[in-house]
Symmetry: C2
Amino acid sequence: MQNRQAITILAALAQESRLAVYRLLIEHAPEGLAPSAIAEKLGLANATLSFHLKELSHAGLVSSRQSGRFIYYAPVIETMDELVGYLTDHCCSQSAGTCATAAARCAPGKRPAAATRRRRASA
Amino acid sequence: MQNRQAITILAALAQESRLAVYRLLIEHAPEGLAPSAIAEKLGLANATLSFHLKELSHAGLVSSRQSGRFIYYAPVIETMDELVGYLTDHCCSQSAGTCATAAARCAPGKRPAAATRRRRASA
DNA sequence: TCCACATTTCCATAATGATGGAATTATAAA
DNA sequence: TTTATAATTCCATCATTATGGAAATGTGGA
C-alpha cells in the first residue's frame, strides 16, 4: 500500500460521523445498509451523509450496490486489512524488538512479517 | 480505546508531513530525533514541524525528552499498537467470518480476539 | 405517463487545519 | 554575562473540510 492511499484511508476514518458510519456498516456486514437507514440511525442530514459516504467510497472503505430503489453500502474489509498491514509495517522498526506487542499481533506464518516485507521491497 | 482517542490518532497520521515525521521517527527508534534533524531531512519549516510534532504528541504517538540543547522525539509504539487493536476490533463483524484476513493477522492466544473483547465489553 | 420516494449534487456558510516569517523562550558553551 | 544554537509560540494567511437546505436526478410502482 502506498503512502498516499494510506493517508486517504486514515483521513476517511478520522472523522466522527464517518467512523460512526463505517462502524455501523461493519455491524451490518456483509449486506450493508441504505443511506436512508444510516441517516436515521445516526441522525445525519441527507446531504451530509452523502458527502461522507463519498469520502468512504473514495478511500475504498465501502462499496455500494443498487437494489431496487435502494443503494446498499457495505464495508470493504480488504481495505481495512491493508490499512492494518500498512500500520503494522510502519510501526515496526527495522531494528527488531522495538515493537513487540504490535508484532505479536501478527500471526507468524500467515503472511510475511512486516519488517521482512518492507526489507524485501526496498532492497 | 475510546472512539474519540482513535479519531485523534487517525487524524494525526492522516497528514502527509506528520506521517512522514512519524515514519522517520520509527526508523530512528527508540532514540528518536531532534526537530532540527527532522526538519532538515524532510524539508519542513521550524514552525510547521513544531506544529506537527505537537499534534503527534497530543495524539500520544510520540514522546519527547530533553538532552542538552536538543529535544529528542521518539515514537510511542504502544499507541500504534492500541490503534491497530481498535481497528482490528472494529473491522471484524460480530457475525464471524466477515473479516477473515484481518482476523488471521491476530495471533490467537496472544490476546483475546477482537470480537470477543467487544462482546464482553458491551454485554 | 405521473407519482412517490431514495439519493445525490449544487451552493453558500461556517469551522478547522496547514504554513511559515518573525519574535520569544530555553539551554549550554565561551 | 554574552553569544550561539535549538525549539516553540505568535500571528496572519491560505486551503481544506464539514454542514445542510433546496434543487436535481434516478428508480420503481400505480
